[in-house]
């Protein structure tokens, strides 16, 4: 479970995140939507322990991230938007290194690595250097690493970027399976179809504040217009009038 309360992040005078609260329950896939620069990635980075909140609390599976960061991180998986990994390690070496960081024993770790590489269709690349991987393959390798230690909560930033349709379907399937096993997932995405298809609940963030939260149907109802597609609702809630201007400019 992921619970954040009154989370604030200031960069100088600029409030990137301005007092947001949300909960992601076990087995729930929670979509985190918002326009560019709304504060999605900053929030996810704070939950992952990459950025320190200016105020507020983050609790991961009962562990306060500020008070007990190691325990909180031990039960959390993180998939960043850009898959930067050690280019001079092979996929197998990278996963072995990553697993050891989470205290996995060598024997079971080997088996788990084989399982994960097979699951994400990277088994035949196990002994190849990461530097020869495509963006999509690196993204899948990062996902292997995130699931390696069987986290009970997962923070995912733009999971579908760079994935081909087959890879995207694979990832959706894995996420659904993990959700069925009780993993709490907070996922930011710009692909509203993905959010509509996969998420149990959705929060929309704009200018650092959550402006709407609920199930997909509840969000549709909040849009208030006749068009019930999530894209139309999202644009109405976040100021999509600009689209008309684009049309005129073109």
């Amino acid at each position: 479970m992921i619970a954040i309360r009154d989370l604030v992040k200031h960069y100088g005078r600029f409030a990137a995140v301005d007092g947001i609260s949300l909960e992601v329950h076990p087995g729930e896939i929670h979509g985190f939507l918002g326009p560019n620069g709304a504060g999605k990635t900053t929030t996810l980075r704070m939950i992952a322990g990459l950025a320190k909140p200016t105020a507020g609390t983050i609790v991961v599976n009962g562990h306060d991230l500020a008070a007990d960061p190691d325990a909180a991180k031990m039960s959390l998986g993180y998939i960043p938007d850009r898959p930067f990994i050690y280019e001079k390690l092979t996929a197998g070496e990278f996963l072995a290194f990553h697993g050891a960081l989470y205290g996995l024993e060598a024997g079971p770790l080997e088996a788990r690595i084989a399982d994960m590489l097979a699951l994400f269709e990277l088994a035949r690349w196990k002994d190849e250097l990461v530097e020869s991987f495509s963006h999509g393959m690196k993204q899948r390798l990062v996902m292997c690493a995130a699931f390696l230690h069987r986290p009970r909560a997962l923070v995912v930033d733009e999971p579908m970027v760079g994935l081909d349709p087959r890879g995207a379907r694979l990832v959706k399937g894995v996420f659904r399976a993990m959700s069925a096993r009780g993993v709490a997932m907070l996922m930011s995405t710009h692909t509203l179809e993905v959010a509509q298809e996969m998420c149990d609940r959705i929060s929309i963030i704009q200018k650092g504040r959550i402006i709407a939260s609920g199930t997909v149907d509840e969000i549709r109802a909040m849009g208030g217009g006749g068009d019930d597609r999530l894209t139309a609702v999202f644009l109405r809630l976040t100021g999509g009038g600009a689209l008309q201007e684009i049309d005129e400019a073109l």
Binding site: R82, K88, L89, L101
Partner: protein, 562 residues
């Protein structure tokens, strides 16, 4: 449609530099003062040095002229090889690997315009250091010889074509190489070749044995010594033309023949290279985009060997990861070749020291050299630390999120970096010191004292480098560039100060001990209490530098989340 001339393509670099200069950041003034101060000091030293040498050569009339001419030719010959190599490496980046090429190659830019813009960038990047070095040297020579104002104009008009020729040759070599093997592989080959070249150059210069000039009995050999100096200077090389042009300009005579040779060769090189680039650049660029399966060494022995070490599993994995990444990156480990050459020279120099020439002083001198050896070992250690230990945190690069999101403390991470750096630095410098002391036949007490001092220095300098590397990380930078950053220079200054203090703390009791040995009588102050006091001070200082640096490094890493 208006086609803008090629300098338009340099605008992003110029605007980027202007914006960086405009955007004030904390510590900018400190950095400017530090680097400006160092640059100014080096520039002044070069100016004064060349002025002093040229002034003294004036006393030797024709021989002085000959030596100055020889010196100018050697100076330009050295820069010629440096510029050619620098041109190869820079061209690889500017013509084939730079990120902005994706934008430029997709834009409707004529091949020649792109070539001219890229060559101008290559020329500036490859030659700025040479120009900065040459300017004070030539100014010093000009002042000593009371050269007319035309000399300085001639210097400018000589340096420009002189730089263009080797950089064009280097670019041509890169064009050829990239068209025969993939650019990323070519980079590894070039780096390796360059370092082997540098290592052999260092050894070659040592083999000329300049110390023979100091021996009276070797005077008849002076002519053969100068002949060996003269041999690489050929009238067919641009370095000779540059030297001759400037030597003539010193006397106020224009040397049109050599100046014309320089300019015509430079312009011809650009015309030919431009045509070659129009023909082969795109093919090479296209090859450089191929991503074949990377070839690499498996390094299967690393993990089993690491398992023998009595360390925690997480630290062991960090060690294995660091070692594999280091050993698979040619640009990293190949620098060890140069280091190996320097170490061999270091030991060779001690083995050929002829202390018996001053029999009554040889006992004292060899022990004095033990202290010099300590200082040199300290400097070797500082160099090793700034190049390999200081960039250790930065080397995590964009993948540092993996460590920061994992359940290991940043303290554990930094301490792992410390131990990974400490073991090889300590082993190498301690072995160097012991071997050099054995060559000298140093007093056993002094040998033990310098060994202890090296051990303490290793702890302190590796700790200082690790801690400062965490305080001034550059996650996007090349490790070589990280070493030359503000933090790297600040580390070197502190490291040199620490080495001097440690030399003083070892040298003071050692000199008292040695004087007593020579006089064979007790001399105030008493040796052993003084030695104990100095040893305690050295231990306390080393431990303080070590632990305080590591603590501040861990705190700095924790602050990254802010």
């Amino acid at each position: 449609m208006t086609v803008r001339p090629f300098p338009h393509l340099l605008l992003p670099d110029l605007l980027g530099a202007r914006n960086r200069a405009r955007r004030g950041e904390r510590g900018d003034l400190r950095r400017a003062l530090l680097f400006g101060g160092i640059g100014l000091t080096v520039g002044l030293a070069l100016y004064e040095g060349s002025y002093w040498v040229t002034g003294h050569l004036l006393d030797y009339a024709e021989l002085g002229d000959y030596l100055l001419r020889l010196g100018l030719s050697w100076l330009f010959l050295t820069f010629l090889s440096f510029l050619a190599f620098s041109g190869i490496v820079t061209a690889l980046s500017t013509f084939f690997l730079a990120d902005d090429l994706r934008l430029l190659m997709a834009a409707p830019i004529a091949a020649r315009r792109l070539f001219h813009a890229r060559f101008a960038r290559t020329l500036l990047q490859a030659s700025w250091m040479v120009v900065i070095f040459l300017a004070p040297v030539l100014a010093g020579i000009g002042r000593a010889r009371c050269a007319p104002a035309a000399f300085y104009g001639a210097a400018l008009l000589t340096i420009v074509p002189f730089s263009m020729i080797p950089v064009a040759a280097g670019t041509a070599a890169t064009l050829l190489l990239v068209n025969t093997c993939p650019a990323r592989r070519a980079r590894d080959i070039l780096v390796l070749m360059g370092l082997l070249f540098a290592a052999s150059l260092v050894i070659l210069l040592r083999m000329i044995r300049p110390e023979q000039l100091l021996r009276v009995e070797s005077l008849p050999d002076l002519t053969s010594f100068f002949a060996s100096l003269q041999s690489p200077i050929t009238p067919l090389l641009p370095s000779f033309w540059a030297g001759e042009t400037l030597f003539a300009a010193l006397a106020g005579r224009p040397d049109w023949v050599h100046a014309a040779a320089l300019w015509s060769t430079a312009l011809a090189a650009i015309v030919v290279l431009s045509a070659a680039s129009a023909r082969w650049h795109f093919a090479g660029y296209s090859r450089s985009q191929d991503a074949p399966r990377a070839r690499f060494t498996r390094l299967a022995a690393v993990a089993p060997l690491a398992r023998l070490l009595p360390i925690a599993p997480v630290r062991r994995q960090l060690l294995i990861k660091d070692l594999k990444i280091f050993l698979r990156d040619v640009s990293q480990w190949s620098q060890l070749l140069l280091l190996l050459a320097l170490v061999l020279l270091y030991l060779y120099n001690f083995s050929v020291l002829d202390l018996q020439r001053i029999p009554y002083m040889s006992g004292f001198l060899k022990n004095l050299y033990a202290l010099v050896n300590l200082g040199l070992a300290g400097l070797v250690m500082a160099t090793l630390c700034v190049r390999f230990v200081f960039p250790a945190v930065s080397a995590e690069g964009a993948a540092f999120w993996i460590i920061r999101t994992s359940p290991i403390g940043l303290g554990d991470f930094l301490w792992s970096k410390f131990w990974t750096g400490f073991a090889p630095v300590f082993a190498l410098t301690e072995a160097l010191t012991l071997a050099a002391n054995r060559f000298l036949g140093v007093d056993p007490v002094l040998e033990a004292a310098t060994s202890l001092a090296v051990a303490l220095l290793s702890v302190a300098l590796v700790g200082l480098a690790t801690g400062m590397g965490a305080r001034y990380p550059r996650f996007g930078g090349d490790p070589g560039q990280v070493a030359g950053s503000y933090g790297g220079v600040a580390f070197m200054i502190q490291a040199v100060l620490l080495v001097i203090v440690m030399m003083a703390l070892t040298g003071w009791p050692a000199s008292v001990y040695l004087l007593r040995q020579i006089r064979r009588a007790a001399a105030p102050p008493p040796v052993w209490p003084l030695a104990a006091l100095c040893a305690a001070a050295a231990i306390a200082l080393s431990l303080w530098v070590w632990l305080a640096s590591m603590r501040s490094g861990v705190r700095a890493l924790e602050r990254l989340a802010d």
